[in-house]
């Protein structure tokens, strides 16, 4: 290998490719093996949450095609509104179970604090997104919720910018702004899960390692640089 091959590339493409594979090495995106300690139904709820999110998005896109008030006058529109409602309910059920499962595992251990943080922010962001959906129904429910919610938001000065009585503003936040933010956070969360893998049990010792003294579950500073994968560390 020549010296030129070993020198840092000036190509932005090469640099991006190296950065991506340093973040999540090839094989960790779509792994065909998983740690032997992953043997519980609790692990299903993360992927179930993503599956429900898929149906939230699909039914929401169909409603978007029809327009803001289409579902009031069309039986097809009403059915997709029902799908939207129930997929959102399932999404939250799965997400809350997933969140509790990760809490009981103290899943922030082993440099996974940022994974927990992105998951918690996605949860909060999802609540805000669902809330704007309720405000965008253009029916009695949205009339009541908006006139009640304004008091909470106004009491801390937020209502001056985020006006829940402005249906046009709420609809745009619901179908564009908040889904974009939540989407980016969810993708980041999934990347971090794939990057760091599933947290091991408390005090578990890998084969070929000796038991160290018990430690508090203090996470490392949530930095993205550096991977848990020893192969990546070696680079």
């Amino acid at each position: 290998m020549s010296t030129a091959d070993q020198a840092p590339s000036r190509s932005w493409t090469v640099r991006l490719r190296k950065r991506v594979s340093r973040t999540v090495p090839e094989g960790q995106w779509l792994p065909d093996r998983q740690p032997a300690y992953v043997r519980s139904w609790i692990y299903v709820f993360g992927v179930a949450t993503l599956a429900a999110l898929l149906f939230v998005i699909v039914s929401g896109v169909v409603l978007t095609v029809g327009g803001a008030t289409w579902w009031h006058t069309s039986s097809v529109g009403h059915f997709f509104n029902s799908m939207h409602l129930w997929s959102v309910e399932l999404f939250f059920v799965f997400m809350v179970i997933h969140l509790w499962g990760e809490f009981f595992k103290a899943a922030w251990r082993g440099r996974r604090a940022l994974t927990w943080i992105t998951g918690a922010v996605a949860f909060v962001g999802s609540i805000a997104t669902a809330f704007t959906g309720y405000l965008s129904q253009t029916n009695f429910d949205s009339q009541w919720i908006s006139t009640q919610a304004k008091d909470g938001l106004n009491s801390v000065g937020v209502g001056a910018v985020f006006n829940v009585l402005n249906t046009g503003q709420m609809l745009l936040w619901h179908i564009m702004l908040l889904p974009l933010i939540v989407g980016v956070i969810v993708v980041t969360h999934v990347i971090l899960v794939r990057r760091h893998g599933v947290v091991p049990p408390f005090d578990a010792v890998p084969p070929e390692q000796t038991q160290e003294s018990p430690a508090d579950e203090v996470p490392a500073t949530p930095v993205v640089a550096g991977a848990a994968d020893p192969a990546v560390r070696a680079r």
């Binding site: 519980s40 579902w71 949860f123 009541w144 009585l165 046009g168």
Partner: protein
């Protein structure tokens, strides 16, 4: 790297996931199965239970179902005693609004959605009415009067309405109410006609998208809340997380709604600000849980992890 950061890294001895033995696993297959199962469940729930869609209350509905409430609300707007007229930021400067201790957090939002309840919600829409000389004359009388005189008339009529049987405007005792009775009755007629929504939302623009004014007007009356309470949506009925009929609403907002049911929040004039501040702290606690001593170690002591990792130490 700081000294503290170095210590923290060393104290977390959780081994790398990739050092443990593995077994075969099909991620794509698991995702496809999850999509199929969740999809079937979603379609089944939608087909069996559908979704609620109670029609919005129009101002004509309101005028038809509770005319005395419309008259009382219009009078309260003129008197400056309605909720919106005496609200404060972001609609007006009629009050300081809610505070967090000494901090006037509501006022900090400033008046960014200016609403003059008497003029924007009542007088201006009524000014478009033609063919009613008596109403036109009384509107001119109203505009020519001083603010104090306007308030005196409107408060007197508001009190008289409250004292009348069922709040019926036709049974109000005689008194000096100036032009207010004619204006309030004219407002009821305008609401009945179905034209009021348009006058409140599109008087200055062709397109409609902001329902702030009609919603504030509707919320100033008692009818909307009466309807909501009948559907178990009141604030003291866990209303924010409920949905019309018996459908699930936003159960994930149970904690936010919970605080409104208990003291000191349920009896405080600053309940909204207090609940929002508390929820902000709790939310921050959830997000930063990995860094909170004691709480971050709680899962180890709770022992629920033994149900997840049955064969582990």
């Amino acid at each position: 790297m700081s000294h503290e950061r170095g210590i923290r890294r060393r104290s977390d001895t959780t081994p790398d996931t990739h050092l443990f033995p593995t077994r075969p696993y099909d991620l794509v297959k698991e995702f496809v199965i999850a999509v199929v199962v969740v999809g079937l469940l979603t379609v089944l729930l939608a087909a069996v239970f559908s979704s609620p869609d109670r029609n919005a209350i129009t101002l004509a509905n309101w005028a038809s179902a509770a005319p005395e409430d419309v008259v009382a609300t219009a009078t309260a707007e003129l008197a400056g005693t309605s909720t919106s007229a005496s609200y404060g930021a972001p609609y007006n400067r009629a009050a300081d609004g809610q505070k967090l201790g000494p901090l006037p957090v509501q006022r900090w939002g400033s008046v960014r959605i200016p609403i003059d309840s008497a003029n924007d919600l009542v007088i201006t829409p009524l000014s478009t009415v033609t063919g009613n000389p008596d109403l036109t004359a009384k509107l001119q009388t109203w505009r020519a009067a001083t603010p104090d005189q306007q308030t005196t008339w409107a408060v007197a009529y508001s009190d008289a309405l409250a004292a009348a049987p069922d709040g019926d405007p036709t049974k109000v005792a005689s008194g000096d109410y100036g032009p207010v009775p004619v204006i309030a009755t004219g407002f009821l007629a305008l609401a009945r006609s179905g034209d009021l929504e348009g006058l409140l939302t599109s008087s200055s623009t062709f397109y409609v998208g902001d329902e702030s004014k009609p919603l504030l007007l509707l919320a100033d009356g008692a009818y909307l809340e009466d309807q909501a309470r009948a559907d178990h949506l009141g604030g003291d009925q866990w209303g924010m997380m409920n949905e019309t009929a018996n459908y699930p609403g936003q159960p994930w907002m149970w904690l936010y709604t919970f605080w409104y049911q208990v003291k000191p929040f349920s009896t405080s004039d600053n309940a909204d600000a207090l609940v929002w501040a508390l929820m902000a702290v709790l939310t921050l606690g959830l997000i930063l849980l990995p860094f909170i001593p004691g709480l971050r170690s709680l899962p180890r002591h709770l022992g629920v992890h033994r149900l997840i990792w049955r064969n582990q130490p």
